[in-house]
Amino acid sequence: MLLQHIADGVLSGAVVALGAIGLSFAMKILRFANFSHSELLTWGAYFALVFLGFTTAFSDFFGGNIGPLSFGWPLLIAMVLSAVATSVLALVLHALVFEKLGRGAGHMTMVFASFGIALLLRHVVVLIWGPNPIYYSNELQFAVLLPGNVRVMPDQVFLLGLTIVLVVSLHLFMTRSRAGIAMRGVSENPDLARVSGVNVDNVVRWVWVIGASMAAIAGVLYGLTVQLRPELGFGLILPLFAAAILGGAGSMYGAVIGGLVVGLSENLSVMIIPTTYKPAVPFLLILLILYFRPDGLFGERR
């Protein structure tokens, strides 16, 4: 069972990792704890559902499922479109609310506004798509038995692989592209970056786009391996924050490692504590990190 819990932990940690990247950047560069970030996962998942509806019209053209996976090209296309749509949503929120508040009030007012927006976004999902769970496909995918008596679903392995690919591409983006380098600059020293002629407004928009895209993809993959429901993101708030804080705000790799640690500890915890206490595990992790390493495992000590 230990191996199974580890496998489950790594796989569910991958979703948390993807979602936490955006949150981590937001905490460092936008300088506020964005409680509405997790709702972007929900919206990403539901956007993909809409686009999937369009693409299924062409399903003959795309052929069936890819290999052992439970989905075909339409879902992947829907996922990319959903990332775009979620980015637009995030930019709209930024322009309508956070930009204004950030200029006037303190950053804690932004935290609070993010609370309100989270509630708003969650219930708009209920209004549009209804409160009941929805599945991308009603087919059930059965797990494959691996050596060591570990069962994993092919979709989840795909999820892990895609996470790795995304993190590597993000790394290249951050180190090679102008926008990425500017982002790192602002993240490390905003004042210095500003006087060196970096367009901070642009960087902020990039942060929203990257964060929202990663969140959308995480949402789609999460929805794919389980289901879509309006509380999809809400239930992930604490794991996401735990991952971002664990990794150290602003550190991409930190967020990824943080996500995996959160996933593993949640899944392994059920071996020692009753499953009903599992949702508290990320919180305990947060307390431990804040107590011993307030700047995260990979954050620089102030």
Binding site: G116, L119, T276
Partner: protein
């Protein structure tokens, strides 16, 4: 007409019980700028303390001390304050957002503990038969509720009066200085960590008090009383009423609770039964919208902060 009065008394009891928690939050957010996202958790701590201290003895559950009402109130404040002290000591020296995340987490955890630690909290069954202090004094629901309203007004009045005294004092001045600029306050010899801790603990004690009054009134406590939405309601009350103003906090509690309950009434009248599930979501969207718009357009709420110097030194 008796019905209307009876309902108003009932409504006011709940609204004023909430307003005590809002006052606590006002101390934390309005005066000190502390973001407590776990209000429901601290209310729960107070509520269960009250239930355990004043409730009858039960099988397989701790407690049954049957202590007097007032002792229960004080005990509830102490345990909520203690919980706040622990969280505060860990997070208050850190960046502001961490308090928001940690308090959000503690509310989730406290709810889980309420749900699962059967020996103390009765688990999912909750704790029943918590004595109502108004019951031995009078007969009839209206008379009893009126007496209870007096008790709430009395307790809330003491809390209100004490808060007014201490926020319009050098201590309150420090809170606001910390809220405005913690670094600048530190450069003037104030210890942000200590002051934040004091404000946080005091605020949470009021939340505990509010929880204690709630269970004494309802007579029953269960984990489902402390869903995250409660935190959200308390926050909306403060923002609508006006932060950094205790009158605003009380007014906000009455208005928001009024809107919340009457919008349920309106929805039940106007929206057909078939789509009332959507009606509930509409209500949440509406409240979320009011909140965000309030922050954008009228961040000070209905009654904003009053400029003052000190009770002793008006110009």
């Amino acid at each position: 007409m008796i019905g209307v009065i009876s309902y108003l008394v009932f409504f006011l009891i709940l609204a004023l019980i909430f307003s005590i928690a809002v006052l606590g939050l006002n101390l934390q957010w309005g005066y000190t700028g502390l973001f407590n996202a776990g209000v429901a958790g601290f209310i729960a701590v107070g509520a269960y303390t009250m239930a355990i201290m004043t409730g009858p003895s039960r099988e397989a559950v701790m407690g049954g001390f049957e202590l007097p009402f007032v002792v229960g109130l004080l005990g509830a404040m102490c345990t909520a304050g203690f919980a706040a002290l622990v969280v505060g000591l860990i997070t208050l020296r850190l960046k502001d957002e961490y308090l928001a995340v940690a308090t959000f987490g503690i509310a989730v955890t406290i709810q889980l503990v309420c749900l699962n630690w059967e020996y103390v909290t009765g688990g999912t069954l909750g704790l029943i038969s918590i004595p109502n202090p108004a019951k031995p004094l009078t007969d009839g629901p209206l008379a009893q509720n009126s007496v209870f309203l007096l008790i709430v007004v009395g307790v809330g009045g003491i809390a209100f009066w004490s808060l007014e005294r201490i926020v319009q004092s050098p201590w309150g001045r420090m809170l606001k200085a910390i809220r405005e600029d913690a670094d600048a306050a530190a450069s003037l010899g104030k210890s942000p960590t200590r002051i934040r801790l004091e404000s946080f603990v005091l605020g949470c004690m009021l939340m505990g008090l509010s929880g204690a009054l709630y269970v004494a009134f309802i007579g029953y406590v269960s984990p489902s009383d402390f869903l995250p939405i409660v935190t959200f309601q308390i926050w909306t009350m403060l923002i609508v009423g006006g932060s950094a103003n205790n009158r605003g906090a009380v007014l906000g509690a009455i208005i928001v609770w009024g809107v919340w309950t009457s919008s349920g009434y309106v929805i039940s009248k106007l929206v057909p039964t078939e789509i009332q599930a959507q009606g509930g979501a509409m209500q949440a969207v509406l409240i979320g919208l009011i909140l965000v718009l309030m922050l954008l357009c009228r961040p000070r709420g209905l009654i904003g902060e009053r400029m003052n110097v000190s009770r002793h030194a008006r110009i």
